[in-house]
Amino acid sequence: MSSAAGDIVRFDNVGLRYGTDREVLSDVSFTLNPGSFCFLTGASGAGKTSLLKLLYLAQRPSRGVVSMFGTDTVTLPRARLPGFRRRIGVVFQDFRLVPHLSAYDNVALPLRVSGVREDDLHMPVSDMLDWVGLSERAQARPASLSGGEQQRVAIARAVIGRPELLVADEPTGNVDPDMALKLLRLFESLNRLGTTVVVATHDVHLLRKVPDSLIMRLDKGRLSDPTGALRYPPRRDNAPDNQVAW
């Protein structure tokens, strides 16, 4: 089954269970248009992280259809998954930086995996580290970076490959309110450059900061969509005009 033309993400009656346990996600259906900004909310254990895992193709659903970039990923051969994953940037709640690599090498990793030559990746990686304010800490290992610095390295790594979809799991959970706001402005900025953004959070104050955003609420593995707006969202235009400073 293929999704409608232009959809970045389409979930149709998706269910997910681990082993023989009960479903952690049930009948989840929604669509994300290119350039949309979406918050995913819900209490702890509601299934946010499981839904994000389906989004960044770390997991396949137990049932239903997950279409990414117009292709059904449920039946996609394993060998083709890496090509799709390279179109998705992920900011993990626990950052998941490679501990024995420097900040520079962590940020460069997606480009190296994608086959970019060393000569060609130096400038974009340096620029990205400069942009997140860590050019002085380029050679530092994650263990010597603060939580906020690690967060920024994780974000730089997530966006350096120009993902079409950016998925962030509780990105403001480990930072102070000022940093949280900066991160949000960063995500908005990327969104305005055309990246579809999905941010999982239980910080309700954050939701108000992006007025045009979609809000998906998960409750015990089910998506609340009383008006059907998540399944059939209106399209919106984005203009690349945002600027962010750390």
Partner: protein
């Protein structure tokens, strides 16, 4: 105030394979500190020694077979020295007249005494003097072809009238049980080489799984960043290949040292049969190929292990 410096779309992918030292950085590996090179070194050394033993035995059997294939011995078992001597001459003449026989030599009594001296002592009087031990006379003959049953039968019939006391035996028949035992040893050596290869593969399998488990978090990250199973497997292959090269070199050196030492020990035995068990240059080449085969086995095992394990991951 500045916008995110995102690289151009065509600058975020390339044609360079993710390999080499950059890729190897992902899996930190204390090469010399780990046991893997030493395990491989021991396995290679044992394989080289087992293979060398097998090859030497094979050469020994080949040389002995070639040497004895056309050899026959005629004993003249006669108590009377004069009659023994007469029958010996007649038997030698009869043998020489047969077209299948290429050479006939009556073993001189002195040579016979020298052969028996280690067992019976000096001056046993094989020549037939006073107080002599009545020893059979011996005729050593060589056939043009191999000593098959039909030829032997024909020669026995020819000897029956010329020298009734003659007993004819093919030299290869005496050593049949020895060849059989050596063949068993050859199979044992081959089995040892196979077992050592399997053990090496098992050691690499365990090490690869252990390394994969120890780096699972990093591998998951690489997967989620779009890394392929092949890219990840190559990182581990590279590491195992270095271990196997190091272990192979050390193992080959140890194995060759052991072979040279054993060779010197056997050479001192000064035994005709053992002298045939040397190694030819082709054998040395084969032994030098053992570590190369070890590297191939190690790398293939690592690749298959990692790919199988990755298929079970996300």
């Amino acid at each position: 105030m500045k916008s995110p410096p995102l690289p151009a779309r065509d600058a975020v992918s390339g044609d360079r394979r993710f390999r080499g030292t950059r890729a190897a950085q992902l899996v930190p590996h204390a090469r010399l500190a780990g046991p893997m090179p030493w395990v491989i070194a021991i396995m290679i050394a044992l394989t080289v020694i087992a293979a060398a033993g097998g090859l030497a035995l094979s050469n020994l059997v080949s040389d002995a077979r070639a040497d004895l294939a056309g050899g026959i011995t005629v004993q003249i078992v006669e108590a009377s020295a004069a009659e023994r001597e007469r029958q010996t001459r007649q038997a030698a003449r009869a043998m020489a007249q047969d077209p299948s026989v290429s050479a006939v030599r009556i073993v001189p009594p002195a040579e016979l005494e020298a052969l028996l001296e280690p067992w019976l002592g000096a001056d046993i009087g094989a020549g037939g003097g006073s107080g002599a031990v009545p020893m059979p006379a011996l005729i050593d003959a060589r056939l043009r072809g191999s000593a098959d049953a039909a030829t032997l039968q024909r020669l026995r019939e020819r000897l029956r009238s010329a020298a009734p006391a003659a007993r004819l035996d093919a030299q290869s028949a005496w050593l049949g049980p020895v060849f059989s035992a050596i063949n068993s040893l050859l199979w044992l050596a081959a089995a040892l080489v196979v077992l050592l290869g399997l053990t090496s593969a098992a050691a690499v399998w365990l090490a690869a799984r252990s390394a994969l488990g120890g780096n699972r978090a990093t591998i998951e990250i690489v997967h989620l960043l779009g890394g392929t199973d092949g890219q990840i497997a190559r990182i581990f292959q590279r590491s195992v290949a270095f271990d196997a090269m190091l272990g192979g070199a050390v193992g080959l050196a140890l194995g060759l040292a052991a072979i040279l030492l054993l060779g010197q020990q056997f050479a001192r035995l000064d035994s005709g049969m053992v002298a045939g068990g040397g190694l030819h240059w082709q054998d040395w080449l084969l032994l030098a190929a053992v570590p190369l085969a070890g590297i191939v086995i190690a790398v293939l095992t690592a690749r298959l292990t990692i790919l199988a394990a990755l298929r079970r991951m996300s």
